[in-house]
Symmetry: C2
Subunit: 404 residues, 2 copies
């Protein structure tokens, strides 16, 4: 199998047959885009992964039901209001959003998925949302990916898009995606909002399996603040316009496509981690030679989520004791007396004990915009990587006054 990917621009609209738009409907701040619409020119297979929070936003409840059918054609999204903790009215509002999108797109209502992100527990301003959906439908275009990516942002400082193409059975298949997320981000089965489009032909069950695989290795490996949101979802629509033989079993194409899908998800997940609220650095933690993949993932996620590691990274303090402490409480099985730790390329601990190391070199390894921590458990052959960011005073400033 050759894993050759070609970079593409266009994000969610990079694959054939996908149109998108993002408009300002007045839900967020005046003039900011806050309603996005994604539309496939032909019916598409759909799959989704959703928050495990027991409190689920109304759009999550509605979309979970619909995506279970395995088919969808459009996604309508708003930012500025999560439509969560709004009771029965919230469910009615989420359905009304889908209804309005179906009406203006002239497709069946059950083919429309819906997502919301923003503040919890405030009624949806439907008088602004509904006209926004109609306006977005009028602006749908094959170049609309960037506007849509902007319209789903909340505290994000930049839009997050990715797209690449690969060849399957002689056909060029493209995968595009966009994501939002900056706070309330913690790995627990799907995190934040992410929408993926592809022109590949894939059966609904394979699509769901591959999405779960990709999300476990991407969005479930990032943390900004340890809080698992009520509205997280990752959706994928596959419209088959690439003309490849449908992927309906675990053949070579299945693995080629799954790897590419995982790559798109990983790029978007890294972008979310890098844009963590108040963050100045992307933190990448790789755990190698673990006894099992589960151990590697537990350990990597604990380190990346530790407030103490995050503040040390912010302060460029080579405090590796906080790294081994987090591995220790992660739940991973390992022998503390075998652990090696590297900050960037500088080995700072061997066999669970301090090494004399060059403080300046170690501090330099923490100084860049991307900080790498490597933990070698020396107890097996499995590995995992997790992404997060530093914890800064700016995170506190942002969240001490988000709602008001």
């Amino acid at each position: 199998m050759s894993r050759t990917w070609e970079e593409k621009s266009g994000g969610i609209t990079a694959p054939r047959g996908f149109l998108a738009a993002g408009v300002a409907a007045g839900i967020k701040y005046k003039g900011k885009r806050d309603v996005a619409l994604i539309f496939s020119e032909v019916p598409a297979r759909a799959a989704g992964v959703f928050t495990t929070n027991r409190v689920k936003g109304a759009p999550v409840i509605v979309t979970m039901e619909r995506v279970a059918r395995g088919y969808a054609r459009a996604v309508v999204v708003n930012s500025g209001n999560a439509n969560t903790c709004n009771g029965e009215q919230g469910i009615r509002d989420a359905r009304a959003m889908a209804q309005e999108a179906a009406r203006v797109l002239n497709i069946p209502e059950e083919d429309v998925l819906v997502a919301s992100t923003g503040v919890i527990g405030q009624p949806m301003p439907m008088d602004r949302v509904l006209p926004g959906i109609a306006a977005a439908a009028r602006e749908l275009s094959p170049g609309g990916g960037a506007a849509a990516a902007e319209a789903i942002m909340t505290t994000d400082t930049e839009p997050k898009e990715a797209a690449l193409s690969l060849t399957l059975g002689g056909h060029t298949v493209t995968i595009g995606g966009m994501a939002k997320g900056s706070g309330m981000i913690h790995p627990r089965m799907a995190t934040m909002l992410c929408f993926i489009s592809t022109d590949a032909a894939v059966s609904p069950s394979c699509l769901q399996e591959m999405l779960r695989y990709a999300v476990d290795r991407s969005f479930n490996m990032i943390s900004v603040d340890g809080d698992t949101s009520t509205n997280d979802m990752v959706l994928v629509l596959a419209n088959g316009l690439a003309g490849n033989p449908e992927i309906a079993a675990e053949n070579e194409d299945y693995y080629l496509f799954r790897d590419a899908l995982t790559e798109v998800c990983s790029r978007l997940a890294r972008a979310v981690a890098r844009d963590g609220e108040g963050a100045t650095k992307l933190l990448e933690v790789k755990v190698i030679n673990a006894a099992s993949e589960k151990d590697a993932r537990l350990a990597a996620r604990a380190v990346v989520a530790s407030n103490l590691v995050k503040t040390a990274v912010y302060g460029r303090d080579a405090n590796w004791g906080r790294v081994i402490c987090a591995v220790g409480y992660s739940g991973a099985q390992f022998d503390p007396a075998r652990v090696d730790i590297y900050l960037g390329d500088v080995m700072v601990a061997r066999d669970g004990m301090a090494l004399p190391f060059d403080e300046e070199a170690a501090s330099a390894a923490l100084a860049g915009r991307e900080v790498r921590v490597l933990v070698d458990l020396k107890s097996g052959e499995c590995e995992a990587t997790a992404w997060g960011c530093d914890l800064t005073g700016e995170y506190v400033n942002i969240n001490a006054s988000y709602r008001t």
Copy 2:
């Protein structure tokens, strides 16, 4: 059963027959007390609860072994160095501390327990620690509790002591205690260092049972930053000098004493939470009417540990959506459509939905030095309380430069 407690001063030296001292040995900063010694004039029963972190400090390993015997007479503690990740040399150093204490106190080495707190992964400066132990032994006194409480501090801004007495079978029994802890604090079976003394006569197995009960309702219900330390321990010594009939079964005295022990632990736990690194407020989260005590505790701990709740409390932002979100991912079983939430006395959500509430009153409820959040799950009869603190820019400042 009458639960009448009398307040006492003196902390760890409040009960009969306990001496303590705290001296400056030069491990921390020049002139700061950093070695503490606790000594019972007669042999005492002992019990302990320890960190569940897989990486354990050398003193934890040594003390766990010794306390399993059920007897001890002295505790030697240093701050400024955790003696963790120091390999075999760390174990030798922890034993050498106990040996030196045994020598100067003229008691068997196995009767000495040892604890350390401070930075991880740096060799113990035994040339300063050992003379410090000898100096502490010379200063032992029945009024030494305060000096000892000061000597175990790290980033704490104030010493933490508590003591009270109760009557058991006509005898006045006193329980005293001291604790340290400000960062790397998260509920996972015993958190930080805490030492309790009592002149009650209690069998070792009852003492262990009661300590576990008390710790589960106190130290295991606090969180400062979600990081479970490598060196946590809570120890209790009971020397029997009160002359009460030995508590050796679950009789009336057992419950009276257990409640008092839980009260002492709770006061010290609250003091640790209030003194969380950078904190300006104590946060108390009470969950009522849960289906089980486990659900109540999961929910209370998740809210108190949420970075987003903590920053909202700091910013006096009545953002109850973050509270219900944390309850949602806590793992507790409940019906989101039945949850009521109060900030102080202001009801802000009913049946999982927003209520129109007086923003000024709600913000005022978050303005004091103590903030109370009440979550009514309306699905049973169990309750639990957890304690934490707000998350501030000062937490980041402290931890961006702790080691260097």
